[in-house]
Symmetry: C2
Subunit: 367 residues, 2 copies
Amino acid sequence: MSTASLPDLLAAPADDLLVLTASLVAVPSVSRQEGELADHVERRLAERASQLARTRVGNTVIARTELGRERRIVLGGHLDTVPANGNAVPRLEGDVLHGLGSADMKGGLAVLLRLAEEITASEEPRFDCTLAFYEGEEIADEFNGLRHVFAERPDLLAGDFAVLLEPTGDHIEAGCQGTLHLRAHFEGERAHSARPWMGRNAIYAAAGVLERLAAHETDTVLVDGLPYRESLQVVRIEGGVANNVVPDECTIVVNRRFAPKYSVDEARAQVEKLLVGADRVEVINASPAAPPNLGHPLAAEFVEVLGLDVEPKLGWTDVARFASRDIPAVNFGPGDPDVAHTADERVSRASVEQCYAAFARFLGLAA
Amino acid sequence: MSTASLPDLLAAPADDLLVLTASLVAVPSVSRQEGELADHVERRLAERASQLARTRVGNTVIARTELGRERRIVLGGHLDTVPANGNAVPRLEGDVLHGLGSADMKGGLAVLLRLAEEITASEEPRFDCTLAFYEGEEIADEFNGLRHVFAERPDLLAGDFAVLLEPTGDHIEAGCQGTLHLRAHFEGERAHSARPWMGRNAIYAAAGVLERLAAHETDTVLVDGLPYRESLQVVRIEGGVANNVVPDECTIVVNRRFAPKYSVDEARAQVEKLLVGADRVEVINASPAAPPNLGHPLAAEFVEVLGLDVEPKLGWTDVARFASRDIPAVNFGPGDPDVAHTADERVSRASVEQCYAAFARFLGLAA
């Protein structure tokens, strides 16, 4: 592997999962520019898994079996990546692929593409399957492909259990925490900075609240026995008019990540209590948490068949979108979540191959 | 006055000081765009005070008598204004002129233009006079016309006493406070906001220092019996990478205005003590204070002839530039400093006429 050049590898039919991942990394797909990769996925499905029913909604591609099985599993992977950080070109080093999106989540897309082929080749898959390759996950929710399909063609995403192939390393991540962004405005009155007593400094008005937020200790909340460690961070602060003017406005953006024990409204009330002193607080966005749902038979079976540890998912993922529609969902995909969105994003051969094998086992495909 | 239209008034020879002020307001001269107004001033001096020696340096115009008097008085007015704020077009309402720059400081320029004519017409002016119409006062020091002339042709600004025609209302403002801008950097470490314990929040690192600055009480410092009320303001704050990232940097800009009792280094040391906890502090700019110099014979005579109250100047002005070259200087000009840089900037007829009369008395011109 390590001696062959990448172009040579990409020219060969990609039956190797790591090479297939590299070929997907080689097609740039920063959010809002997923068209080429969606075309690529559609073409490959047409060539190698033509029996699947394919539908395209925007740059989201949905492929489904129609075997009449009693239960349907939905597997989802987003096509988009965050912007490149000097890592746009994939690079194979032995059994490790480096490059933008290798972990988050083109390794997962490679697993999905291989599963599409094997499901159609298999004689007795245990479930009907829906594979969703979707756009717009890394940016504002309004661009999310699953959101669009749920709105326009919810039938395409119906199912009994869902797995999102977000990178989770060698364990399953159950549920997800909710996320809430609030913007707090502090107001003052402008004045020349040589005569500040003629005005009121909005940055000073924010100082006490900032100090309170900095000192706040967040909880770890147990749900289904899983420890959801919450967080509360000021992620932005902005204030100032000119260097000789007492500022009349200061704004902070607070991000709270909350355990599935709480609703959005409860989480919001908790943060607003800490923001007392602000002149105005507005919600920028709010996404509910997803319960782990480990008591659900399919979720329990998935955990048992894979035989892996289950940990709580701390970041928000689209499992919450399924959970809010009463479809239990978990996260399980190749790659280390800690390298996602970093310059040295990478994924190993073992990680993609073990992930594929786990899904094949669960779905009842040939090993 | 109030019934004539502005164009009619501007077409008439402007012997009326308020109309002359209006004609200067009618020529836009936002900082870095003073060329047209400098041309206008040069032309008027050529037509009406041709005996004065004129020199142009950039868009700064210097006009000087060469009478061989023992002492020379330098009078300065800046040509530029801050950006318009819905007040670009001058408007006369009875005896009040509204418009950008009317107070800061085209009323003062009108007084200077009239003085230029009367000095050349006068038989016995008491002093030689230098009139400086200069560019770039309202913006960064590097653009300041006096700075350029002091650097390139210091002989043009030599003198025994200087007056800056900044708006001071009906009193004289002595000396000026120094001004110091420091930028303090607080560092952290990026992490996903769902896992903040993997990083360190730079905004939280700044919170304690902000709280300390907000609580800080500044002094009023007596110099030559004048109360210089100091100030210390955070005028800018900035931090944040993305709404889901623990920020790794937060910067604040602090502006300290300090009494002429202190040097720049002393003022800086005082602020740095309050910034303990910052990872790095840099000086953005520093301008020394100017002592009131009221003991100087010409300053004392100016105060006595005018018979007006003397107050300390809290904002920084170019008097400090003269003071640092051992030329005592004070501020005295028409207009209320509190309306400078506001949408309703204005100046009254009485203000410009009384200011002119005061200078005429001091310089020994015909009333």
